[in-house]
């Protein structure tokens, strides 16, 4: 029972006694939280795998009823949906590469304290975070630049997030100057120092910010809603999903409580949601530690 030195023993004992009630309440609370996070997902998965009849009879809660995969067959054979999925994947890959390059090119020179004009450049960049012209001026500009209904509008206007750029710059500034100085003695110019010293040391921040951009692009749809209204073939998956879902909202809202609700439509929509959600759900547990790093990096130094 009481063993060893005098000092730690009472503490251990007292902590042990307090553990029981408090901990059970906390564990219970956490289990509720986990349920709240997982049950909505289980519900949509259950709906997507349930027969339309079971959905209409309102039998589906968290497990599939009358298991069937017809809804998935329907969605996966829809060429518009599959193209949108593929296009969003391609787009996300392009955006990650382009945005990372642009963000590095912006962040790295600003780590040189001696850079003439650094203060002015920093101010001009940060000012864009404070004041934006707004939707309509951007729309008119994109019209003049022929970017409307042009897939480039999903890439070009968002190439650098100032927030991410600041995170990256702060990370670069955390790399010891002595490394830079010894490379300079070896005759390396700034660009080669970036390639051979800074980038290899910056994989955590590159991964974090690359993933920020990737998730942002995969989940983004507003730009397509605003600027691609005449080019549905370039709509990313979220906007297509939005258009699919808008129908059910209208149907449901027009006809509340109707038992004749389209069970088939509901299961197809659920399948579409599941398919659009799966990539994120598969990837996020592996990338969340980078995100955590990013969030704390931004918070502490941003």
């Amino acid at each position: 029972m009481v063993k060893g030195s005098i000092a730690p023993a009472p503490r251990r004992k007292s902590r042990f006694r307090k553990t029981t009630t408090g901990d059970i309440v906390i564990i219970g609370f956490m289990l509720v939280l986990i349920a709240l996070c997982i049950l909505p997902i289980m519900n949509v998965v259950a709906t997507s795998f349930s027969s339309p009849g079971a959905i209409i009879r309102q039998e589906v809660v968290f497990l599939p009823v009358e298991f069937h995969v017809g809804a998935f067959a329907d969605v996966l054979s829809d060429s518009r949906f599959m193209w949108s999925l593929a296009w969003t994947g391609i787009l996300t890959a392009i955006v990650v590469v382009v945005n990372l390059i642009m963000t590095i090119l912006c962040a790295y020179p600003l780590t040189y304290m001696s850079l003439k004009g650094r203060k002015l450049i920093s101010f001009l960049i940060i000012f864009t975070m404070l004041f934006s012209a707004g939707l309509i001026p951007a729309f008119v500009l994109f019209r003049d630049l022929n970017l409307l209904d042009n897939p480039l509008v999903l890439i070009l206007p968002g190439m650098i997030s100032v927030f991410n750029m600041i995170i990256m710059r702060n990370f670069f500034m955390g790399i010891p100057d002595s490394l830079k100085e010894s490379a300079e003695i070896d005759g390396l110019g700034p660009f080669r120092i970036l390639i051979y010293i800074y980038l290899p040391l910056s994989t955590p921040v590159l991964a974090t910010i690359g993933l920020f951009y990737a998730v942002g692009r995969w989940n983004g749809f507003q730009d397509a809603l605003f600027f691609l209204s005449g080019a549905p073939q370039w709509h990313p998956i979220q906007l297509l999903l939005y258009n699919i879902l808008q129908n059910i909202v209208a149907v449901d809202a027009l006809d509340p409580g109707a038992t004749a609700a389209p069970g088939w439509g509901t299961s197809v929509q659920a399948a579409a949601i599941v398919i659009a959600m799966v990539p994120i759900l598969c990837v996020y547990p592996f990338i969340q530690k980078y995100f955590v790093q990013g969030a704390t990096l931004g918070a502490i130094k941003g």
């Binding site: 408090g22 564990i27 309102q58 934006s132 012209a133 001026p137 005759g187 995969w218 749809f221 909202v249």
Partner: protein
């Protein structure tokens, strides 16, 4: 390349007197930095500063087709018209209402959760809980709206299925104004609560452990330690985040409202960004929407600067 770096590192420290030779030497060493900055600066010029030229639309007559420069000026008419529109005043009201509800419910939630997570003694269970609680943050509002329809719809929603199964009557979670507002606020908390704990948990790890030991020696209970040690320990972070959140009360996430709304709740679902989108792009009222955009940007800038100023006054680091 005759040891440009060596000269650079000593020269840079001292700073340049501004002589032509100094400038030449400086550019010889640093031209590549400016070369790297070219594309980013071009990007900011085109996509952040060029649109500011079109801000003049707000003071011109509405004309969707003509060049911005050819349309006659109308002074402050567009602003006056915006504020005389009751849908716009409603949009302002709704924006503020959601900001305050988010602040009242969504702001304390992650603090409470972080305190509880911190008290969790099982490291593996804690890790799993955290990972799962981050998940909703990675879902888009479109997906969340899809989940919400599946859960809350009156015809096929799981929650209403359960309520009806227990003999209750359906609850119009998404179809009545009040219900929709709270469903929306709740979903926003659901989406962000786990993610927002990160910063508080990071702050908690910085609390001096000796304070806990001292409190324990004084016989403090667990709750008392949370209240008297942990909370005061993270108070600076709470205050800073509170001020920064206040700085955004005139803003609203367009995706959240576009995704969640339906025509039955339009009266409470219309916020400033959705109003701008609908009136500006869908109804082609460029001038009016541009005026509203300016109004929002100016207020937003003022609030952000004030928030940043306040945070710095309190000894924290602001946005930048």
């Amino acid at each position: 390349m005759t040891f440009p770096g060596l000269k650079g590192s000593t020269g840079q420290r001292k700073g340049f007197a501004g002589s032509v030779r100094g400038f030449r030497a400086y550019m010889a060493r640093n031209w590549s930095l400016y070369a790297m900055l070219t594309l980013p600066l071009l990007y900011f010029f085109i996509f952040s500063y060029l649109p500011m030229v079109n801000v003049q639309l707000a003071w011109r007559q509405n004309n969707v087709f003509a060049s911005v420069w050819d349309v006659p000026w109308v002074g402050w008419d567009n602003f006056e018209r915006a504020f005389s529109l009751s849908p716009f005043r409603d949009a302002i009201r709704n924006t503020l209402m959601f900001s305050f509800l988010d602040l009242a419910i969504g702001f304390p939630a992650p603090i409470v959760l972080a305190l509880l997570l911190n008290e969790l003694k099982m490291p593996r269970f804690k890790k799993v809980t955290q990972t799962i609680s981050y998940m909703p943050f990675f879902l888009s509002w479109i997906i969340i709206s899809g989940l919400a329809i599946n859960l809350f719809s009156t015809s096929t929603g799981a929650i209403n299925n359960i309520i009806v199964g227990w003999g209750g009557s359906t609850v119009p979670f998404l179809n009545s104004n009040t219900h929709w507002v709270f469903t929306n606020v709740f979903l926003n908390v659901w989406r962000t609560v786990g993610w927002s704990t990160i910063i508080y948990l990071a702050a908690i790890t910085n609390v001096n452990p000796e304070l806990y030991e001292a409190a324990e020696v004084d016989g403090a209970s667990r709750l008392r330690k949370m209240w008297h040690v942990t909370l005061p320990g993270i108070r600076p972070v709470i205050v800073i985040l509170f001020i920064l959140t206040l700085g955004q009360i005139m803003g609203a996430d367009l995706a959240r409202f576009i995704a969640m709304e339906n025509h039955l709740v339009r009266g409470v679902a219309e916020v400033i960004p959705t109003f701008t989108f609908r009136w500006g792009l869908q109804s082609m009222q460029f001038a009016l929407a541009a005026a509203i955009g300016i109004f929002q940007s100016v207020i937003g800038m003022f609030l952000l600067l004030s928030a940043n100023y306040a945070v710095r006054k309190l000894g924290g680091q602001g946005f930048w």
